[in-house]
């Protein structure tokens, strides 16, 4: 059960702090939980795990592929590994290791890929992941989550530890705006219907859910009835909720910090088409482009991932009705 925060303009803990504190709590309950880091412990705060629980920390050096393989191996003998590196190195750089050593072998690897999409900031195009979800979505049985705020991120980490298999969490390292009240709980594979609407349905995930809610505020003030789903589990996808809600809406848009190819938008579109639903449908995300350097705000603007753009697109679509 989730509850919405009273103030969407406050920021919670940094998301890396959320991840690290959750892992430390898990370690207290289960000594088999281990954290693996590829020389980014200063960036992810995994070095705090090293300090607090050195026995449960493995420094891998700059060896992402080896890290994923070692994580798979240690899970074979009963440990529960959490690995961290930046999102692009946690996915596209190690794809075959995730596939064969991980998913295909039914080994367990929990992955925190940080600073996805525009969160990359001045690390720039080489460190940008607009395709991580697309890559992993094609591999059977992987769970993919996009963390919307610190409460949800903390919950996701705890939940991952209960399940076997490969699980991927993409989330900023820094603090993001609150959406949920502390103590909220969720369900893997179930989207959160935050608001129901009659005209428009926005399906989003990750920290952009906050921007989707901003867009809803603006549109509602102008007379639109707008629903918002936080589809924080992109795989397995909550098809039932999409079918139920999209059937009622005139316009469905997806809104993601990712390429429009292969991510949330594609996944939702597949459900809509295969179920012969007929809303006006548009994927809003990165238009098949590479990343670049700049502040996260600059990049957000550049790639059209703002509430302003969302409002504009929805209004344009509604003109077509």
């Amino acid at each position: 059960m989730f509850e919405l925060t009273e103030n969407r303009n406050t920021k919670g803990r940094e998301l890396r702090t959320s991840v690290v504190e959750s892992i430390l709590e898990l370690i207290k309950e289960n000594d088999k939980v281990v954290a693996l880091e590829a020389d980014l412990g200063g960036a992810s705060y995994f070095n705090k795990i090293n300090k607090a629980a050195p026995h449960n920390f493995i420094q891998m050096g700059i060896q992402e592929a080896n890290m994923v393989g070692v994580a798979a191996g240690i899970s074979i003998v009963g440990y529960v590994p959490f690995v961290h590196t930046f999102a692009p190195f946690a996915t596209r750089r190690v794809l075959d290791q995730i596939f064969m050593s991980g998913s295909y072998s039914k080994n367990t690897i929990n992955i925190y890929g940080s600073d996805p999409g525009y969160c990359v900031g001045t690390n720039g195009g080489t460190h940008t992941s607009f395709e991580d979800v697309a890559l992993l979505r094609a591999i059977p049985e992987i769970v993919i989550c996009d963390g919307a705020d610190d409460t949800q991120v903390a919950w996701i980490v705890k939940e991952f530890a209960k399940m076997e298999g490969v699980h991927y969490l993409r989330a900023n390292r820094k603090a993001v705006r609150d959406i949920y009240k502390a103590g909220s709980s969720f369900q893997i594979g179930k989207g959160n219907l935050i608001f129901e609407g009659k005209d428009v349905l926005i399906i989003s995930a990750g920290e952009l859910v906050s921007d989707a809610l901003d867009a809803r505020d603006i549109l509602e003030a102008q007379g639109y009835s707008v629903g918002v789903i936080d589809m924080f589990t992109i795989k397995p996808l909550d098809e039932k909720l999409i079918i139920e809600q999209a059937a009622k809406a005139k316009i469905v848009v997806t809104f993601e910090n990712h390429s429009v190819i292969g991510g949330l938008g594609s996944a939702v579109g597949e459900v809509i088409v295969e179920n012969r639903l007929n809303p006006i449908f548009k994927r809003i995300g990165v238009e098949d482009k590479f990343g670049q350097v700049g502040s996260p705000d600059f990049l957000k603007e550049k790639y059209g991932l703002t509430s302003k753009r969302l409002v504009k697109e929805i209004k344009t679509l509604s003109g077509k009705m």
Binding site: E37, D39, L40, G41, G42, A43, N47, Q59, M60, G61, I62, Q63, A65, N66, P88, F89, R93, T122, N123, G124, G125, T126, H127, Q292, V293, G294, S295, F298, L299, K302
Partner: protein, 286 residues
């Protein structure tokens, strides 16, 4: 009297270090440690050893530089600016939205950059490919590959090294920036490198150890290796992370330095003053 060439390189190094620091200060943060540790190397390569023409960056006779430790991009940009590849004030745009000077080198954006890097390890294979291709084409350009000591953690480096040694790519020099630190601390503690020079020798490289702040020694080594044939070649460059400015050498977390503290800002300002004096020093006083 010191050699005038070396005196010139000393001034160049002060200027390059000044520009790096200035850029990072303007951004508020950046990869200072690994940029500073290769300043002398870059000055020798561009200021003395490499065949290149700033007025004609695509000149077919140019030597290729691959900065596999791409996070040291600011050091390369400052060097290229010093050589006249582009106007100095362009450096001020580092990491700003829309810039041609991203944190990590991009061959499609920056004049003088031939290979895009940033994801560690990948520059090694690309450099090997460039060298192999030059051989195939019977061209006599040389390739200089700069790799971080932490970067050596990546298995891809060792795949590339096997390839370079197997095909005896003697038109390439692997230069390892042995500054003893990576992001999370000392290489010793993060992932023990053991004896890097011995490892390179075991991989089939003719290997030299050179002091990384000694312009004359670097110049001699690079010029000597240019003439060594029929073998893979490596320089293990003994450097200090943050090299050249005492304060930053001693700063423990000097991989990426933030200028959000008074202390760091003060030290940076003092360093800029000191470097400016070196830049303006008259030749006869040297």
């Amino acid at each position: 009297m010191r050699d005038t060439k070396i005196a010139g390189l000393e001034k160049m190094a002060a200027g390059v270090r000044y520009d790096i620091l200035n850029m990072l200060l303007k951004c508020g943060a950046g990869h200072l440690g690994g940029s500073f540790s290769i300043v002398e190397l870059l000055c020798v390569l561009y200021g003395s050893q490499m065949n290149h023409d700033p007025a004609n960056p695509d000149w077919s006779g140019r030597d290729y530089l691959v900065l596999s430790k791409g996070h040291a991009g600011p050091a390369l940009y400052a060097t290229l600016a010093h050589q006249g590849y582009f106007a100095h004030d362009q450096l001020d745009t580092l990491n700003c939205g829309g810039t041609d000077f991203p944190s990590h080198p991009d061959r499609l954006k920056t004049i003088g950059v031939d290979v895009t890097t940033g994801s560690l390890g990948q520059g090694t294979s690309q450099a090997a490919g460039v060298a192999y291709g030059l051989k195939l084409a019977k061209r006599d350009n040389h390739v200089y590959l700069i790799v971080g000591d932490g970067e050596l953690n990546e298995g891809q480096c060792w795949e590339a090294f096997q390839f370079i040694a197997h095909y005896r790519l003697d038109n390439l020099v692997v230069i390892i920036d042995d500054n003893k630190k990576q992001l999370d601390g000392y290489t010793q503690d993060v992932m023990n490198p053991f004896d890097i020079a011995k490892k390179m020798e075991a991989f089939g490289f003719y290997t030299m150890k050179v002091k990384g702040d000694d312009l004359e020694a670097i110049d001699l080594a690079v010029s000597y290796l240019r003439r060594v044939g029929s073998t893979a070649k490596c320089i293990v460059l003994d450097t200090v992370k943050g090299q050249g400015i005492g304060y930053f050498e001693e700063l423990m977390d000097n991989h990426s330095v933030k200028f959000d503290s008074q202390e760091n800002q003060k030290a940076a300002k003092a360093a800029l003053d000191e470097l400016e004096k070196l830049m303006n020093r008259e030749a006869e006083n040297v």
